[in-house]
């Protein structure tokens, strides 16, 4: 589904991604963690080409992303992206946020799109908030609308860039619950997060990054209980005792 082969990326002279090799299979849930500035956000932003890379090959859903002439709109329509800061459109209601792309990208009829949108909002537990504007919703509710917005395009892959980092502690649970439900439904997901409980419970693999490199790729239990490298061990001890 997603296949990185020797991908390298530089910001100026800064080598932010170094020889990345990752293969994500359909239905797999991969958690990416690591200290800040380690390149984990950059890595998942490459998957829907919000970031370009200079070297290597990346295939997503059979499309070669290293080939710059691909149809980006078509690629992105198949990939949902959930941001740390939600980025809901403030001038639209929750339902309008969810239905915008289905109507204009998928060309679905308005009435039908509304039905799909409502279904997705109900799925994230916000059926009663369809006509609310983002500033009338709590952080956790906004992030769940953002997830519904991603789902409304019926994507093949969902990407999460620190989806709970901007939330108050008591709202993290409601967002994670929605994400766990998606895992159970067999969605292919790449999640950048520091929620180690989530990683342990549902991830099939944990990727640990530091300074642009993938240091470890392990099953969650193996990674948390028995990290192979000193850097990973240090990172785990820091986030578990914070």
């Amino acid at each position: 589904m997603i296949k990185f082969k020797d991908v390298n990326k530089w910001f100026g002279s800064l080598h932010v991604l170094q020889n990345i090799n990752v293969h994500v299979k359909p239905g797999e849930v991969v958690v990416i963690c690591g200290p800040s500035g380690s390149g984990k956000s950059t890595l998942i932003r490459c998957i829907n080409r919000l970031e370009k890379f200079q070297d290597g090959e990346l295939h997503v859903d059979g499309m070669p992303l290293h080939n710059y002439s691909i149809n980006l709109t078509k690629l992105r329509a198949e990939i949902g992206f959930v941001f740390q800061q939600f980025h809901l459109y403030p001038h639209m209601t929750a339902l309008e946020n969810v239905t915008l792309a289905p109507i204009h990208v998928r060309k679905i009829k308005k009435k039908e799109a509304k039905e799909i949108g409502m279904e997705k909002l109900v799925r994230v537990g916000l059926g009663d908030k369809a006509s609310s504007y983002p500033d009338q919703l709590s952080g956790g509710q906004q992030q769940r609308v953002a997830i519904a917005r991603g789902l409304a395009m019926s994507p093949k892959i969902l990407l999460f860039d620190e989806p709970t980092s901007a939330l108050d502690p008591e709202m993290i649970g409601e967002v994670l619950d929605v994400m766990i439900k998606l895992v159970d439904e067999g969605m292919t997901m790449c999640v950048v997060t520091h929620e180690m409980g989530f990683a342990r419970q549902v991830a099939h693999r944990v990727i640990f990054m530091d300074e642009g490199e993938i240091i470890e790729t392990e099953k969650p239990d193996q990674f948390f209980d028995n990290p192979q490298t000193e850097r990973a061990a240090l990172f785990i001890s820091k986030i578990l005792t914070h």
């Binding site: 329509a77 941001f83 800061q85 980025h87 459109y89 915008l100 792309a101 204009h104 990208v105 504007y133």
Partner: protein
Amino acid sequence: MLEGFNFRIIWEYMPLFLEGLRNTFLISILSIFLALIVGVIACGGRLSRWKFLRGISIIYIESIRSTPLLVQIYFFYFGLPTLGIRIPEIQTGILALMLNSGAYIAEIVRAGITSVPNGQIEAGMSSGLNYFQRMRFIILPQAIGVTVPPLLGQAIVLVKDSALLSLISVMELTRCGQVLTSERFMPTEAFFTVAFLYLCIYFCLKYLADWSQKRLIFKETY
């Protein structure tokens, strides 16, 4: 105080004043409309990916904003005929006002567009919306809210700037004041009336501003 004030002369010259008012009004409306078009195009060029377009737009915007409007008016009034282009004063005036306001409007619109956070654009890109769809559904609706008040401000500036066209003998409101002054030597009456009529235009525009704000701004509380 008002004893020396000659209302009869104002009444006598009222047809002239009304003609001036009409001209000022038409010149302003036409100029602001054209300036909006010029401004949006210049703003598009200013934000363009292509260096050439960006360069031209920057040269236009900066050269207009760094020179006095009166100089620009004289430049077109005396300069165009020497280049073999002969157009009546009123068109020259509209051309100058259009190009002048266009440069300011370009910057106002640019400020509105760049005020929309980058995350909004990325969110639109991630859902597969193309450039024009992002502009149409995400960026412009949010940009209009912050753009309307300064645009109306620019329209009011333009109305007042149109007084400078009196210097190239366009028969607009200020020019009518000058005519009354030179024919009857009553500057107080003349310019009191002129000022009063500018005030009327100002209130019309202000009414328009309030009206448009109610309709264009997506959410009053936001």
